[in-house]
């Protein structure tokens, strides 16, 4: 029986060890690429070990270092973090396979650098998932930003550098300019930064200042992409597709909304949130973002850009969930992290596969491609259904919880907005599939029968598409895992 602390450290150490192994093996591409997969599998293996313990109600914890009294880097695995870590490390295996296929297929350069920073990003994401206090979380949050910068700038051309600068500027700007002050003020006022069931603010911070802090937190967590600080996400799309897939559909953006949930539930506490005047303001900002981003997504012809705006919109679902201050909605928000992750990663994988096979990036060029790449577009269809929230995919459950939460808490306008936005989802996600299958191919694209992307691209996207369907059945156990994180905050 391995001790709790050891497991937590192992989960963090594996990607780092993998990173060093990669550097050492950089001269032998085959060995290096297999090491990437080995690292991902090993990490998932370790994280899974923690799951039964968390389900048993244990909270594995470990304290790494104390900078000075009251400020430490420490870990505590609770259900929400468990879920996030499982999600990130599990999808990493698939992404690692895909990345190898993609990087070779698309003839990208600097493979080792790419994989190395990927490892650091996963390490940081795990750190975020397991952090037991806001300071640790902040440290890993920044590490995630910094480690993904080289990935965004990977291509090294002007567009990549410009996009990467926006990316870094907005994420660092919001986190240092807004989040850090909020963290410091919280520490100053509440005397602690520990994530505590029920929150730490009640009784320590008067609601007026609490309201201000909420705004600082929600905008400071730039990774959650609330408008107007969402520009970094479309900018990040200059990165190679595996990065967009795992990091900008899963690890980075989900780290953002994960932090939002953590802050709302464990720092503010749902009861305290109800007292704040600004909760509703943030709620409506989120609702506005989810509608506006959907509208912008419809205008995009570049497939990845459309997906990026779709992500901005979907992230706001989760922020909305947190700000509804209903247990039902908060649970839905937690579930949506998983559901959307599977759906969106599938979509990105498909976008990448299309690029590798045909070098096409614009939706209007993809007419009729469905006949050439049936598997890819079928997967795209399933991914889209999951994001929209239609059975038989997992997405339906998280949306259902959200609707119920909004209805329960009496926000009729939010219910309406959710309905509108779902319709918009359909309007911007389904046409690419429909056009690909039903419209005739463009001139010069005819013939050739089926020419899919390499197997290493197609298999992963099929797997995640199957995952979307499997989640339709697995939603119950997922909710079971998550419920304890809310039970303590009253209501259930």
């Amino acid at each position: 029986m391995v001790s709790d602390a050891t497991l937590v450290y192992l989960a963090l150490a594996v990607p780092l060890a993998g990173m060093f192994a990669l550097i050492a093996a950089s001269r032998w591409p085959a060995l290096r690429d297999s090491l990437v997969v080995v690292t991902a599998v090993a990490m998932f293996g370790v994280v899974v070990q923690l799951l039964p313990r968390v389900l048993r109600g244990e909270r594995p914890s470990a304290s790494l270092i104390e900078l000075f009294p009251g400020l430490e880097i420490a870990f505590l695995v609770e259900p929400l973090g468990m879920m996030f870590a499982l999600l990130a490390s599990g999808l990493w295996i698939i992404t690692a396979l895909y990345a190898i296929g993609y990087m070779r297929g698309a003839r990208e350069l600097h493979h080792t650098r790419f994989h190395v920073f990927f490892c650091i990003a996963l390490f940081s994401a795990t750190g975020i998932a397991f952090s037991s206090n806001m300071f640790s979380l902040f440290v890993f949050y920044e590490a995630l930003t910094l480690s993904t910068y080289p990935l965004v700038a990977h291509k090294g051309n002007e567009a990549a550098k410009k996009g990467a600068r926006t990316y870094l500027g907005l994420l660092l700007g919001t986190s240092v300019g807004l989040l850090l002050p909020a963290v410091i003020a919280t520490w100053w006022l509440a005397g602690t930064l520990e994530f505590t069931p029920g929150g730490i603010m009640a009784g320590n911070v008067n609601p007026a200042i609490g309201g201000l802090l909420l705004v600082l937190f929600m905008y400071g967590i730039g990774k959650a992409a609330l408008m107007p600080f969402h520009r970094w996400l479309p900018s990040a799309m200059v990165a190679p597709t595996p990065v967009s897939a795992l990091l900008h559909a899963v690890a980075v953006v989900k780290a953002g909304v994960f932090t939002v949930l953590k802050v709302s539930v464990y720092l503010f506490g749902l009861d305290y949130l109800r007292e704040l005047a600004t909760t509703d303001i943030i709620l409506y900002v989120a609702v506005f973002t989810l509608i506006a981003a959907s509208l912008i997504a419809m205008q995009q012809d570049n497939l990845k850009a459309r997906l990026a705006y779709s992500t901005v919109s979907q992230l706001s679902y989760i922020v909305t969930a947190a700000m509804l201050v209903s247990e039902f909605a908060a649970l839905g928000g937690g579930m949506h992290i998983v559901m959307h992750a599977f759906g969106k990663i599938t979509l990105f994988f498909c976008a990448g596969a299309i690029y590798v096979a045909t070098k096409k990036t614009e939706i209007s060029d993809m007419h009729g491609l469905g006949r050439r790449m049936p598997v890819t577009f079928a997967a795209f269809f399933i991914g889209a259904l999951c994001v929209i929230g239609v059975p038989p995919t997992g997405g339906v459950w998280s949306k259902w919880h959200l609707f119920m939460g909004a209805y329960d808490s009496g926000h009729q306008l939010v219910v309406l907005a959710l309905i509108v936005s779902t319709l918009l989802n359909i309007a911007y996600l389904l046409p690419p599939v429909v056009n690909a299958f039903l419209l005739p191919p463009k001139e010069g694209d005819q013939g050739g029968g089926i020419r899919e992307a390499p197997l290493l691209c197609v298999v992963p996207l099929s797997l995640t598409a199957l995952g979307c369907i499997a989640l339709f059945v697995l939603a119950g156990p997922l909710a079971g895992l998550l419920r304890p994180y809310l039970a303590v905050s009253g209501g259930w």
Partner: protein, 495 residues
């Protein structure tokens, strides 16, 4: 033997200087002797710090002459901390110096160069350790004269000019200090700092003492490059030989800040400086302007060395800001930043020294693409740069955190906000360099270069590692800085 440690602290470097000069024909030996002297200095500084770490003090009468006739050396938590910073930086910079200096200084002047370095070092140590006001002036001039010579040895002809400008500004500063000391002497009849403190109590409410305070404050402000009296600094740091820039940037301004603290807290006393003269209201605006404007100027620099020099002016602003908060916590933040900034900026300038060694210059266009060919150097630059920005888990963060707490404690919310904003500016100028080195193609006429030699890299990484180590295990510098602050305030603090 141990009772003579305070004297040896200064004397070793001071006597090694002429010896090294005589060894001018044997540059390697000259370097060896200098190295030995610097390491001995560090060892003594460590021993002294340990002795006073419990809040005590050591008094040493030079030549057995008791004060007020003789010169007294006095070591307490505050100056032991400064001595350690000087000792540490000189001990780490010397291994770095050998190859860097051999490349930048003509072979027939190496011994003279090291001799001047030792004099500068001895001067700074002397300023820190002495308890005699006039002695401070003399040591200021010793270190300054040696520094002028060191800076003038830079390869660029502008080095001489900037050394000249520094000489003019520096001399005005020390002369002001001398006049201020004169006023103090008229009123009290003593030059011993401790005596001054006790004898001033009855006469503080006079115009003479106020004038003394003004002259001393302005004089020292010139030496510590307080905005807007910082004009000599960017040129001097940009054109000096690499090793000199490392050493001076990490020590010279720090020592001047220590002298300011010593006069403000020990001699004039907190009550007089902050309550009667409301010094905080003069210092704080200057500190804030001094943080913001040079930071912005740094963003637009094309030469990395110059960029970092402007950043140094901004960092002085942080230290002054801590003082101007007029609280124990603010003072402690300043004292801990003395150390944190010393190791951070020295690491950065050393990385720049490595770049200069291989590339010949550090304009952004020359640095372009350097990361691929000099990965270790640039990695050190990035890590130390993060510390300069104040990213968590680096030394810089420890400072910023305490400074922020101190600002918040007194309700200076806008100041706290400004601190964070300037961290972002620091991020921008550091990132400019990083982006050039990592993401730009090298210029077409770039020389084929390799990674810097180990003798340069090892010291660079020693300090770089320290910025991480003391960012993670921060208790050590924090407790030393608290001890220093308590020594200055003259009373234990609750923290």
């Amino acid at each position: 033997m141990t009772e003579h440690l305070p004297a040896l602290q200064v004397v070793i470097a001071l006597t090694a200087a002429p010896l090294v000069m005589l060894l001018n024909r044997l540059p390697r030996l000259a370097w060896g002797v200098t190295l030995a002297a610097c390491w001995a200095t560090l060892a003594i500084a460590l021993l002294l710090l340990l002795q006073v770490s419990d809040g005590g003090e050591i008094r040493y009468e030079m030549g057995g002459w008791a004060p007020p006739w003789g010169i007294e050396y006095r070591v307490d938590g505050a100056n032991a901390w400064v001595l350690l910073i000087i000792g540490l930086v000189s001990a780490v910079v010397m291994p770095f110096a050998r190859r860097s200096v051999e490349q930048e200084i003509p072979a027939d002047r190496l011994g003279l160069f090291y001799s001047a370095f030792l004099l500068a070092n001895a001067g700074l140590l002397g300023i820190a350790i002495t308890n005699d006001a006039f002695n401070i002036f003399v040591f200021f001039e010793i270190s300054a004269l040696a520094s002028y010579a060191l800076i003038a040895m830079g390869r660029d002809r502008r080095a001489v000019l900037s050394s000249y400008q520094y000489l003019i500004m520096g001399t005005i500063g020390t002369t002001f200090l001398l006049i201020g000391i004169g006023f103090l002497y008229i009123m009290t009849g003593t030059l011993n700092l401790s005596d001054l403190a006790t004898r001033l109590e009855g006469v503080t409410d006079t115009r003479t003492i106020r004038a003394a305070f003004g002259f001393i404050a302005v004089g020292i402000s010139l030496k510590l490059a307080l905005f807007p009296l910082h004009l000599w600094l960017p040129n001097a740091y940009s054109y000096a030989p690499s090793m000199v820039t490392v050493f001076l940037s990490a020590t010279a301004t720090k020592v001047a800040i220590y002298v300011l603290l010593r006069f403000v807290y020990t001699v004039f006393g907190f009550e007089f400086s902050f309550v009667e003269l409301s010094m905080a209201w003069v210092l704080m605006p200057l500190a804030l302007l001094g943080i913001v404007i040079p930071s912005l100027v740094a963003v637009f620099q094309d030469d990395v060395k110059r960029l970092l020099a402007y950043s140094s002016v901004a960092q002085v602003g942080y230290m002054i800001l801590g003082i101007s908060l007029a609280s124990a916590l603010g003072l402690m933040a300043s004292t801990v930043h003395l150390f944190n900034h010393a190791i951070t900026k020295a690491a950065l300038f050393m990385a720049v020294g490595c770049l200069v060694y291989r590339l010949g210059g550090v304009s952004l266009s020359r640095v372009a693409g350097a990361a691929e060919r000099m990965p270790w150097t640039m990695a050190a630059f990035v890590v130390a740069g993060l510390s300069l920005i104040g990213v968590p888990l680096t030394a810089g963060f420890v400072t910023k955190w305490h400074l922020l707490q101190a600002a918040l404690m007194d309700g200076f919310w806008p100041v706290a906000a400004l601190l964070l904003a300037t961290s972002l500016i620091a991020a921008i100028y550091i990132w400019k360099v990083v982006e050039a080195a990592y993401f730009r193609a090298p210029p077409d006429d770039a020389r084929e270069v390799r990674e810097a030699p180990l003798s340069l890299l090892v010291p660079t990484w020693t300090l770089t590692a320290m910025t991480i180590i003391f960012g993670v295990w921060a208790q050590l510098p924090i407790s030393a800085a608290r001890n220093a602050a308590e020594a200055l305030l003259g009373a234990p603090q609750p923290w």
